[in-house]
Symmetry: C2
């Protein structure tokens, strides 16, 4: 059993690689951030769950990383003509996911149930679960005041300077059943923290009570793949946010952030020079975190599978010794 923790595009890519690298894809559970979820036009939208689901079903738009390949925008164009809110891009096919999710949630089903059902319908061979079934909402604290996540991320295009983040509802949320079971499963072989934004995508998952402790205690190695390469985020505002929060935008800073729960850290070749410092940092120079250098940039499906296979192999090494 492999447990992957993921946010949006970058995380989904590695999750797709893990799914492809495993002989039995059903052994993979990808647990996804839902702090970005929001209500829009009366619909319950779960952007990261959808990105992961579409990517693992092979339907993601390869150009954007989010949304569906070959999508059309007739609904949104018509909505704009009616004076409706068109700042959040909802494609015609994508809309079906939101409408059906909303209908089922209103009918009393859990987000876990809806997620697993929709992903099965779309032909995903591995398992996907939300981090929790309760409502958690990421609030971005900026110079201009608090912003709901999508307001910051899409409407304001990550422009306001971030001063802090909080995850409303996280303290009273509970890990989803699949998530908690995986963490407690003796068959768990590795936890992979995907190359997602540490602040926006992984922190909300870690904010659910019990997650951090379970990761620290679990017998399986916890391996993170750096989303920062050469001081830059491959996608999204991770580097910008780190700088705004007074943290150096580097793979080393990401390793530090996860240090208490990490066994292994995967660094891009570009950052090879940081490996020694990351391994010997903390605990008076004693090696606490093993570092592996890989080509982490995933352009093709082959890149994903190769990186995933290397991460799994690294975890095996850590497990054995």
């Amino acid at each position: 059993m492999i447990l992957a923790l993921a946010g949006g595009v970058g995380g989904a890519k590695l999750a797709a690689g893990l799914q492809a690298a495993l002989k039995a894809p059903a052994e993979l559970l990808t647990v996804v951030n839902t702090g970005d979820d929001f209500e829009h036009l009366g619909l319950r939208i779960s952007p990261d769950l959808d990105t992961v689901t579409y990517t693992l079903s092979g339907r993601a738009n390869p150009e954007t990383g989010w949304g569906l390949a070959g999508e059309t925008w007739h609904f949104l164009d018509a909505l704009a003509a009616l004076g409706g809110e068109d700042w959040f891009r909802l494609g015609d096919r994508d809309l079906a996911t939101h409408v059906e999710r909303t209908r089922r949630l209103r009918a009393g089903e859990t987000l876990s149930r809806v997620t697993s059902d929709l992903s099965r319908r779309l032909g995903v061979p591995s398992r996907i679960a939300p981090m929790c079934d309760e409502r958690v909402r990421t609030v971005v604290e900026t110079d201009g005041g608090d912003l709901p996540f999508q307001e910051y991320f899409v409407r304001r295009a990550c422009e306001p300077a971030v001063r802090g983040l909080r995850f409303e509802g996280a303290a009273s949320a509970r890990m989803s059943t699949a998530f908690a079971s995986a963490l407690a499963d003796p068959a768990l072989e590795a936890v992979v923290v995907c190359p997602s934004n540490p602040y926006l995508s992984v922190d909300p998952i870690l904010a659910i009570p019990g997650v951090r402790g379970s990761l620290v205690r679990c017998a399986a190695p916890v391996v993170a793949v750096s989303p920062i390469v050469g001081g830059r985020a491959l996608k999204g505002p991770a580097a910008k946010i780190m700088e705004e929060l007074g943290v150096e935008a580097s793979a080393a800073a990401v390793a530090d952030r996860y240090r208490d729960l990490l066994d292994g850290f995967v660094l891009d070749e570009t950052d090879r020079a940081l490996a020694g410092a990351i391994e010997s940092a903390g605990a008076g120079g004693r090696v606490r975190v093993r570092v592996r250098v890989e080509r982490t940039i995933m352009h093709t499906g082959e890149d994903r599978t190769r990186l995933a296979a290397r991460v799994l192999e690294f975890a095996r090494t850590l497990r054995e010794g």
Copy 2:
């Protein structure tokens, strides 16, 4: 001022003709049945309002009469793939109308306000109003029990035999402001009961308290155009329902149904032979309802405008005579 009462496709066609025939289209108010409205997939759907709005904006699908021309179905196909309910055909562009209407109604706006705004956005030069702002729901009483309207009309394709109809909520509804104002307006020149289904489309409007009395009392002539031609409905189940209710499916039976409020009745050429009987029926043979014979079948935009012009001219005769 001209007031038209309409349901779906047939009514919308004559309303479009009236709009085209009038020098100042803003003088036309089309009041539309909302008994067919329903909630579906969390959306508030008003099929007759949309048919009238799309027709009067020149955007209706000319093949079906309902929906938008050049519509695409990517949303619905995707919904079907997710196992969602796809029995009610929602096109990608049409969906924007429902999403925006639902959003605005939830925000507390009236259906009248939303309707007039959306129709203006779509470029409709005349005015459109719902019969009322309250929720009225047509229930079809059948051999197999009560059916919500769309369940009967779309899902069951009008197959169950109708034993009766009721309009839940009608007794406590109030005419929409535009409707009540038009009926009380001394400038009202004619009321046109469009060739819509008398049972499913016009009766719900007549069931709103005060409507029937206002039509009987109003100084302007009330003229109906028969939706039954040669014993058949041009579209929809009107003839079938009349037979199931033990009423002869004929233009004469339609005239009888409206007799208490009618001044004029427009009959198709096919039914020319019924004119005398309709004029002399009731009141011991005294002429109560004037009959005009016209070509009422509207294939083209020209047909609509010509019929509308003849109806307006007929009303003028009745007013002056």
